[in-house]
Amino acid sequence: MTSIDNIGVQVEAVHGNVRPILNEVLHALDKLIDTNESTVIDLAGLPFAPGELDELEETLGQGELSAQLDALGASRIQETHYPGVWWIEHRNAHDEVVGRYLEITRIPEILSSQDADICAGRARLGEQFE
């Protein structure tokens, strides 16, 4: 029985998006170094050719730190091979990808413990002593 992989297509590669995005990342890193300002690049709005997104991910690589977030589905927050450049992928409860970003920052906002959660947690802990 033939499978979808047996279809003999040899797609001609298109590399239009990878270099411009890397250039944007370069400028964002400059901004981070000079003024400590963060940048977020939304990868959802860009027309990626087949394989280009993987190429981008491969080029940026994986760095020292990776974090898994479990909130309304799993999210992966990965520092790339280039410190300060974070790859963030959000999935929903059905494990479908709902968001993909590059954050050029010291630490992505979502990694920090949030004020509302801290207060709610403190209240919960306080109940332990009642």
Partner: protein
Amino acid sequence: MKNTPTVGEILQAKGVSRRGFLKYCATTASLLALPPAMIPRIAEAIESARRPSVIWLSFQECTGCTESLTRSAAPTVEGLIFDAISLDYHHTLQAASGDQAEAARHAAMEENEGGYLVLVDGSIPMGNPGFSTIAGISNYDMLMETVAGAAAVVSIGTCAAFGGIPGANPNPTGAVSVGDLVKDKPIINVPGCPPIPMVMTAVLTQFLTFGQLPEVDKYGRPLAFFGQTIHDRCYRRPFYEQGKFANTFDDEGAKAGWCLYKLGCKGPTTYNACATVKWNQGTSFPIESGHPCLGCSEPDFWDKGGFYEPLSTGKFGSGEKVAGAAAAGVALGVAAAAAGRRHQAKFTKEG
């Protein structure tokens, strides 16, 4: 309007953490094609928004739009129903039917007078009300009755927005779009056959987040998703520019993923977000899968020449008409020559 809880309160009650909420806001910003810098504003807006009531009316449709919406990733329609909006009426998705269902619809309309959203998929037959009825009520009557107290109407899919396939030649049921009938309420058209799920939910989310409807183009389509043509965002555009085209569906050009213009792609004249947002959670879209764009988000796309006829094909009229023109030319030529020869004869005689 009933004092419904805010979305922020609902999420908190469901135990959604602040991180989860931020994630939701980030994906919403992506959905609405807003820059990431808007995320804090979205967070603020969503937290204080109240759950609007939504009534969904299905008329002459194939249910593809509902199917498409239930495949939507973010937010999921179940998520939408329970967390964000209050879907008070939907033929296909609701458990109730018959009188009970109609009673629920009327209750929702009364309770939320002036503030509810009406979503419509399918065209409305005007040829004979009997062509399409629900609980014995004609589509036309149900539409006009329901939109009377609505805040706005959203036409989901090309059938509701422009007439779609029922409205295509010869239009046996006299199908018309929502916009042809409703003149006194704001209408947002979200066309596509079906529309991209994310686009549908984005419009609803925008209403939820900002309490407003998005900016639209001359066909009433949200500019955020229908402001660019497929051609202008297609990843195969470099091949178009280089002159690399597929000539048949299985030739080397097609296998290499070259431009599908010669196979009838309507990308240059079609406004939709397929090339960037794509389908099935960003898996691919028709052109990426090797099939030319049909132009399904454009009015009358069924009647705009064949799907496999290239855009620049001329329509020269019948061969007979051209032959007729040729015959006319011969006649005129003979007449002109006859006059000329008479003139020449006069000349030579005198000369």
